[in-house]
């Protein structure tokens, strides 16, 4: 999924499952810019633990169901 990091994620899939939640809507809920959400989704930026937990909380999933390493 991601090109530059070993941290992968299911954010795009989870957004889709959450009623096509937009990147902007997710960004507003976790307090970052839409471009940062886009960078995280695309594997161009590994978020801080705090932001990772916030994303997991938005989708009501445990962290390890949203992010994977390896």
């Amino acid at each position: 999924m991601s090109a530059g990091t070993r941290v992968t994620n299911r954010i795009r899939e989870l957004r889709f499952q959450s009623g096509e939640m937009t990147q902007q809507a997710l960004a507003d809920r976790i307090g970052v810019t839409r471009q940062t959400v886009n960078a995280i989704e695309g594997g161009k930026y590994s978020p801080s633990l705090e932001v990772a937990f916030k994303i997991a909380r938005v989708f009501d999933r445990p962290l390890e169901e949203v992010f994977h390493y390896g």
């Binding site: 970052v32 810019t33 471009q35 940062t36 886009n38 930026y45």
Partner: protein
Amino acid sequence: MHDASFEEKSTWIQLASIALALGGYFVIAGQMLRAGVDVLVAYVPVFVLAVVAIVAINVVGHVAIAIASRPGGRDERDRVIAWRAEHRSSWLLATGVLTAITLLVLAVPTVWVAHLLLLSLYLAELLGFATRLYFYRRGMT
């Protein structure tokens, strides 16, 4: 560029302002140095003009991008990018400072030392902004 965040667009503006204004200063200052102008005060008006140009370009540029897109504020990615870019560019300024001290010990005229310091600051800023843009475009992991 249309998908760039406010901070990325701001970085482009800062890079352009430094490159154009201080670049213009160095073109003029270079001609003055070659002409043998060795009084530092003679360079002050040109430098003041360059600073005014930097401020003007930044004000106009930031107003334009604020109108075009909603300023989203700095988030953690912007801060990390700024830190990493500074970490990778600060060596240029440090090298300039150490070289300037060496030149002072060797009693090189202050006009050359001052311009070496300014040049190292200029190059460090250019490298810093360019590195930020690289991280914004290519990603940072």
